[in-house]
């Protein structure tokens, strides 16, 4: 099992790999969007602008399928950020992973990496630096928590009466069930994304152990991982929109 490069800063565990990969993901997404919107033109859009407009329309389709597009307009940027960030994150671990082997306690910036702290002679720890950020359950949990906060806060803000009423429907006895249902949403989001991407990376590691024999498998699996990465980004985004729509929009027909 690969360890994470964590240092302890006065009780705050800083995971360098997570910070690095989050930074890289954000940087790639931001640079891509900046390049795409650099020379904007109404009548003669460039290739990247066309691509980005296609993404925007795709996300508009996602939002439109979950709720009325007029009400969903503020969430398009959220959906775009989510889908681009998750897709890029999912792909980052595919081309390579960077792993260092530590035989004695190593330190960064004067702080000992926690995983190497108690290494005795002859033991070694493999430290994973470069991976998909979404292959870390903490990162996916962070994303899912954002969605969780958003759906509940927006529900309370725009649709308070029906949002609160929905907890005791159809009967007040269902209150605990409804709370569990609400809590299960972000957990399911986080675990679904994490498990898919993590499994992909584990299988890549396994295929690497096969040596040259594994090359065809690696090709197939890399292609499939790209597909899974895109699919998971899509699923995460559409579920986010569905959840937000469920809490914020009160449909007259259903009552």
């Amino acid at each position: 099992m690969h360890e994470a490069p964590i240092i302890n800063l006065g009780g705050f565990n800083l995971d360098f790999s997570a910070v690095l990969m989050l930074f890289v993901s954000c940087l790639i997404v931001f640079v891509l969007c900046r390049l795409a919107t650099r020379n904007l033109s109404v009548e003669n859009p460039g290739k990247l602008q066309n691509f980005m407009e296609w993404v925007v329309e795709f996300v508009q389709g996602i939002v439109g399928s979950a709720m009325d597009l007029k009400k969903g307009k503020p969430y398009i940027t959220l959906g775009l950020t989510l889908i681009l960030f998750i897709f890029v994150s999912n792909l980052l671990g595919l081309p390579m992973g960077i792993i260092t082997e530590a035989h004695q306690p190593e330190s960064i910036f004067g702080h000992i990496i926690e995983a190497t702290r108690n290494l005795s002679h002859g033991e070694h720890a493999e430290i994973l630096w470069w991976k998909s950020p979404t292959a870390d359950i903490s990162v996916t949990a962070g994303l899912a928590l954002i969605v969780f906060f958003l759906m509940n806060v927006l529900g309370l803000k725009y649709n308070r009466k029906h949002y609160l009423k929905h907890y005791i429907e159809p009967f007040p006895v269902f209150l605990p069930l409804n709370i569990i249902e609400n809590l299960a949403k972000p957990i399911a989001l986080a675990i679904r994304l994490f498990a898919n991407i993590f499994a992909g990376e584990v299988l890549i590691t396994v295929i690497l152990k096969m040596g040259f024999l594994g090359i065809p498998f690696m090709g197939i699996w890399q292609g499939f991982s790209i597909f899974v990465g895109a699919l998971q980004a899509y699923i995460f985004t559409i579920l986010t929109m569905v959840y937000i729509a469920q809490t914020t929009i009160h449909e007259e027909e259903s009552h």
Binding site: A18, C33, T37, P45, I137, S138, V139, L145, I146
Partner: protein
């Protein structure tokens, strides 16, 4: 695999920053451009629709004008046909009248000439017959001057009564 709350916080912060950066520096402008394009396309469609309607109206007007022109041409032809036939008839009538008048005049002239000729003839015949008669009578009168005198008076009387 253990969940690190620090990573969760870092993820949320970085995602929030990314969201803010993207909405500020990238997507705002992109949305505006897409909205502009939508507007442009809608305007062009509207314009095309208007142009088409105008064209339809124009064609309709042209059709109407053509029909009108045809009608006018037909009327003009009809009118000219009528007027020409009327004119011909007038000319014919005029000619007929003229000939009638000329014929009548000629008849009258002929009559007058004839009367004149008759008159002249009558005068001449009178003179000749007087001549003849005088020549015939001369022989008798030479022998009898009283008788001659009497005859002349009678003759003169006759002429005076006649005129």
């Amino acid at each position: 695999m253990n969940v690190l709350w620090e990573n969760i916080v870092i993820t949320m912060i970085s995602f929030a920053i990314l969201y803010w950066l993207l909405s500020k520096y990238a997507f705002g402008k992109l949305f505006a451009i897409m909205e502009q394009r939508r507007e442009l396309v809608r305007n062009q469609l509207e314009e095309a629709k208007q142009t088409r309607e105008q064209a339809t109206v124009y064609v309709e007007e042209q059709k109407e004008a053509l029909k009108q022109a045809r009608q006018d041409a037909f009327e003009i032809i009809e009118q000219s046909r009528q007027s020409s036939s009327k004119q011909a008839k007038d000319i014919l009538d005029q000619a007929k009248n003229d000939t009638n008048r000329m014929k009548n005049e000629a008849i009258r002239d002929i009559e007058i000439e004839r009367m004149k000729a008759i008159e002249a003839l009558r005068g001449e015949i009178g003179a000749y017959s007087v001549n003849i008669a005088s020549k015939l009578i001369e022989r008798e009168v030479e022998s009898n001057p009283a008788e001659q005198e009497k005859l002349v008076d009678q003759y003169l009387n006759e002429v005076g009564n006649k005129s």
